[in-house]
């Protein structure tokens, strides 16, 4: 299985039926598989912060959701994470396509990309970076298990080492 097939399989294992997203090239590798699978119910968002509320509502209603977003989108979602998902104890797997790191061509992506890990650390959100395919099953399995046991957000950053970077110079 490819890394994205492994993630899709693990989402099903953990009964994560709902996927909300703001598109990016990395997350799309997961979504294009999920769209072919009737198990998943996929919601396009206009802004990443909405996804924090949507997954909160889904969990309150007895269902499990995850949010896929680009690196920039974490900046759009921080207050909802801090003032909704964390205090109300909502398990919220975040899949983030990591920009602003290895292979980045766009300097405007770098400050947010480099800030992600300290931001998650400051909020006490467990955060993991996937860099190679062999890490995907244990890290994603473990992160999902942690999220639903702890009932808190958990961030999974998918690096360009794993997913590839853009050809643009």
């Amino acid at each position: 299985m490819t890394w994205s097939q492994q993630i899709v399989a693990l989402l099903k294992t953990y009964n994560v039926q709902f996927l909300s997203y703001v598109p990016d090239a990395i997350g799309e590798q997961i979504l294009k598989l999920a769209r072919q699978d009737e198990y998943f119910d996929i919601l396009p968002l206009a802004r990443e912060e909405e996804g924090i509320g949507v997954v909160t509502g889904q969990y309150l209603g007895g269902a499990r959701g995850a949010v896929l977003m680009p690196t920039s989108g974490v900046g759009n979602a921080i207050n909802a994470l801090a003032s909704l998902a964390i205090p109300y104890q909502i398990p919220l797997p975040l899949f983030i396509g990591l920009r602003g790191d290895l292979g980045e061509f766009n300097p405007s992506q770098v400050p947010m990309g480099q800030a992600l890990r300290p931001i998650f650390e400051a909020l006490n959100i467990p955060a993991y970076v996937l860099t190679q395919a062999s890490e995907v099953p244990p890290v994603v399995d473990g992160a999902l298990k942690l999220a639903f046991a702890l009932e808190q957000p958990v961030a999974i950053m998918i690096s360009t080492q794993l997913a590839g970077w853009k050809d643009e110079k």
Binding site: L43, E49, G57, L60, G61, G62, S83, P87
Partner: protein, 189 residues
């Protein structure tokens, strides 16, 4: 002009065990006074998120009506949620927006609806088909009854007075969550 507490009482009195998501500030304060019930989800922060939480709840519970009590300032902070919800169009969603044209809690500063913004027009532009704008309690009751009986999603913009609510629900987010989920019959982890 509608009084928010009076209209909130009408909403709660006409529901059974349907969940209500109440936005931070006066929307949830008045809901607490009107009727504290475990199916009330009180938001203590994350301004703007009521509309998104309600959408997620409506998606997870398609057989049950979900009511959102929002404010003009809160909805203006998350206008993105309107096209998202309209595209999904959950039939079981009733989104009520109390519009007092001000940020009442922080000193009455005007919101954009005090000038030229009309939230009902924005909702229609976002793609909602059932949008009502009401100015009296009688009209509010007629529209809310209709929303309970006919498939939505519904957006009801209620023009209210500027009365401040003294209601203060419990502040423990964990308590609010757990009793809400228990009332909906969801087993704890």
């Amino acid at each position: 002009m509608i009084n928010r507490l009076q209209a909130t009482r009408y909403v709660v009195d006409n529901l059974h065990d349907e969940p209500i998501v109440a936005s931070l500030g006066n929307a949830k304060f008045d809901l607490y006074i009107a009727k504290d019930r475990p199916q009330n989800f009180y938001m203590w922060n994350s301004m703007g998120m009521a509309s998104s939480i309600g959408l997620g709840l409506a998606m997870a519970r398609p057989q049950q009506t979900v009511v959102i009590l929002d404010g003009d300032g809160s909805l203006l902070m998350n206008l993105n949620s309107l096209p998202t919800a309209a595209a999904r169009s959950p039939e079981n969603l009733i989104h009520i927006v109390w519009d007092n044209r001000q940020f009442e809690l922080t000193g009455g500063q005007p919101t954009h609806t005090a000038f030229s913004t009309d939230l009902a027009t924005i909702a229609r532009g976002a793609g909602f088909k059932h949008v009502e704008s009401v100015d009296t309690q009688a009209d509010f009751e007629v529209v809310f009854d209709k929303a309970l009986q006919e498939s939505g999603p519904w957006i009801i913009v209620a023009h209210i007075d500027s009365e401040r609510s003294p209601g203060r629900p419990p502040k423990s987010a964990a308590l609010i969550k757990h009793r809400f989920m228990e009332a909906l019959g969801i087993q704890p982890v």
